[in-house]
């Protein structure tokens, strides 16, 4: 019996990884004694000691900057950025060094590491705790971006990302940290963190989503298929950089209709990138233009208005229905 929530799956993955690889160091704010504000790292410091799990000073630039040094010197740092909105003080180190160390030295120096970030809205949190800035990260060359959507993908993708020789940003949709419980394999396993996952194959419409919105999309679908027995193809994008275009294009060409659902600000977003690429490469097979369901180009509101920002069931179903009938 290994029925775990997302946050527990992450915890299990970290534990198993640290057991297998002595070079893994976990560092972040409040990750040690307390086990992280979401309890992702609970029990790790107790088990592996204070020299492998660190409660760092409050300094994202210090966390990521020193992680670069640790990585250069042979360790595999797993940084936790406490909340998505706090990553920016460390972003300078990411964009100016983490992504470039290999390229600027032509492979002589590299700094593989995992940067874990609670991501996205929907938990009625304080300001800066609900960001969806994945497009910014995907845009930078030199770093991979991965996003699970449930306990099974969380553990498998995390373990796979830890084996990469490249740095990875691991976005953890906090809305589903505790919302989904699933029976997953107890022993370590890997899911290809560069490949999109087709959860259901179909011929009528391609639905692409990721993160917490993947779950919301599924909920909307469950309702829709009560009365419309559509033959949908459901894709969990999983890898935001690099994007698995092979899977996406094959699906788009097959169905001719594509619906993309995420929670970002639409302008210059990841959905815009997907839409452009699908049109550029698959237009001969499309029946209708790609449809995007996103947030808005605004700052995500605080809890009293947050639900109006995030794609609601209504927003998703309206778009889905329009596309089905197109």
């Amino acid at each position: 019996m290994n029925e775990l929530k997302v946050i527990e799956a992450i915890n299990q993955a970290l534990d198993q990884a640290m057991e297998a690889n002595d070079n893994i160091i976990v560092l972040g704010e409040d990750v040690g004694k307390q086990g992280g504000v979401f309890r992702a790292t609970v029990g790790l410091q107790e088990k592996y000691g204070e020299e492998r799990v660190y409660d760092t000073p409050i300094s994202e630039m210090g966390i990521i900057g020193s992680a670069i040094g640790l990585s250069l010197n042979g360790f595999l740092p797993v940084c936790e950025i406490q909340f998505d909105g706090f990553i920016w003080t460390g972003f300078d180190q990411i964009i100016n060094h983490v992504t470039r160390m290999r390229s600027r030295s032509r492979g002589r120096f590299k700094c593989p590491m995992l940067i874990r970030v609670p991501f996205g809205g929907g938990i009625h949190a304080l300001e800066h705790h609900s960001e969806s800035m994945e497009a910014v990260f995907s845009h930078i060359p030199g770093i991979n971006v991965v996003i699970p959507s449930d306990p099974y993908t969380a553990k498998g993708l995390l373990l796979d990302a830890l084996e990469s020789n490249d740095p990875t940003i691991f976005l953890e949709p906090k809305k589903v940290y505790r919302a989904i419980k699933k029976e997953i394999p107890k022993e370590p396993y890997k899911l290809d963190s560069k490949k999109a996952i087709i959860e259901r194959e179909g011929n009528q419409i391609t639905i692409i989503s990721y993160g917490a919105m993947y779950y919301e999309t599924k909920k909307a679908l469950v309702e829709y298929i009560q009365t419309n027995k559509i033959d949908f193809e459901l894709i969990n994008l999983v890898s935001l950089s690099p994007i698995d275009y092979d899977t996406i294009f094959a699906s788009a060409r097959k169905t001719g209709k594509v619906l993309i659902v995420n929670e970002e600000n639409p302008t210059c977003g990841l959905s815009a990138e997907l839409s452009a690429m699908i049109h550029e490469n698959c237009i001969g097979d499309l029946i209708a233009p790609v449809k995007r369901v996103t947030g808005f180009d605004v700052i995500i509101p605080l809890l009293t208005n947050e639900d109006n920002y995030l794609p609601s069931k209504t927003r998703i179903l309206n778009a889905l229905d329009n596309l089905i009938k197109a």
Partner: protein
């Protein structure tokens, strides 16, 4: 960490409120601390002097190369030769050097061939591709951003129970950046085998040290991190060497990071695109020339009868020849392959990237 009264005397005795900056020779090259001076052997002094001349002459040639269109923007180290040699001469060959962008001499001493350095300033990434046994990181342009890296390396080295030291070199301006504080805080917190070396050359481009920070010394910023620190005369190579000897002991043997502020002067413009006459006077520059670190060590070495006109010229001729060979080597090196921008991005490529690489290659072959 209890500082040893002998082995760490310089740090132990330094008090920013009452101490002068630490010197071994005075501005004219006369001896201030005879006992310290006696530790330096003739063989070493000649090597040290040779390095200083090599750095000076190479620097001049690099400036000329820029002015004749053979190189891109170049940042001179003239006037800072004592810092360059003093900071690195006593390190081991496998210690880490994290340069900012005014460490040409330090990089050479730590094993990076001058030809590689020239390639970098020519705009060729091959210049940063140092041999596997040389632990000198690529030049870091974002001011101060490499300082936390040094903390991480030194921290990791301690965890590994290793003995290598990480030396980060940076200027007075860098100490204003957040990364400086994050780096010192982490290094101190985690007992990193790190030495933080600040070449205070009085200017961050046009911004004079006086308006960079209100702190009376830069060294005292380390007090906040409970880190041993000292302000040293950055044009006195013997003083820096002596200080580094103690800092190395603290890092290697005691996992104690230190902060050294070396007070020097940037004799040239900030870069070959800069014009320092816009913000500093000729009088000031001329005054600084009188404190030239090479002149100073020469006075001392001549007084000790180690240096004379003959062997000085021999040294100059020898290093000039070495430098010219390295310049030729750099010029012979090819530019990177066009698609190398794809090759070194990640350890594992992916289809879209390959497609873009093909686009470029097709374009070139047209």
């Amino acid at each position: 960490m209890q500082l040893d009264g002998n082995k760490h005397s310089i740090f132990k005795n330094y008090d920013h409120q009452s101490s002068e900056m630490f010197s071994v020779l005075d501005f004219q090259g006369n001896i201030l601390h005879r006992d310290f001076v006696n530790e330096f052997k003739e063989k070493d002094l000649l090597k040290i002097y040779k390095w200083m001349q090599k750095i000076r002459i190479a620097d001049k040639k690099c400036i000329n190369m820029q002015r004749t269109g053979q190189m891109g923007t170049y940042l001179s180290v003239r006037g800072q030769e004592a810092c360059q040699v003093g900071a690195t001469y006593l390190l081991n060959k496998d210690d880490w050097l994290l340069p900012a962008f005014r460490e040409t001499g330090m990089m050479q001493i730590m094993g990076v061939e001058l030809s590689k350095i020239i390639l970098y300033w020519m705009g060729n990434e091959k210049g940063s591709q140092v041999p596997d046994n040389v632990n000198v990181l690529p030049i870091s342009i974002c001011v101060g951003s490499h300082i936390p890296h040094a903390a991480g390396i030194g921290w990791g080295e301690r965890l590994k129970k290793g003995r290598r030291i990480a030396l980060a070199s940076f200027g007075d301006g860098a100490t204003s950046e957040g990364d400086f504080h994050a780096g010192l805080n982490f290094a101190s917190m985690y007992n990193a085998k790190t030495i933080f070396f600040c070449q205070n050359n009085q200017y961050a481009i046009s911004t004079s040290r006086k308006i960079q920070t209100k702190s009376k010394t830069i060294a005292q910023k380390a007090i906040a991190y409970d880190m041993p620190h000292v302000q040293v005369d950055g044009n006195d190579v013997l003083a820096i060497l002596k200080t580094m000897q103690q800092a190395i002991d603290l890092a290697r043997e005691h996992n104690t990071p230190t902060f050294i502020e070396a007070v020097t002067y940037r004799l040239e413009d900030h870069s070959t695109s800069d014009n320092s006459s816009l913000y500093r006077s000729q009088e000031e520059e001329q005054q600084a020339e009188t404190r030239d670190p090479i002149k100073r060590i020469e006075v001392f070495m001549r007084a000790q009868k180690i240096l004379n006109d003959t062997n000085k010229q021999e040294i100059i001729d020898k290093v000039t020849k070495e430098i010219d060979e390295q310049i030729e080597k750099a010029k012979r090196e090819s530019v990177p392959a066009a698609d190398s921008m794809f090759t070194y991005l990640l350890s594992e490529t992916y289809p879209e990237l390959e497609r873009q690489r093909d686009l470029l290659l097709n374009e070139i072959n047209q």
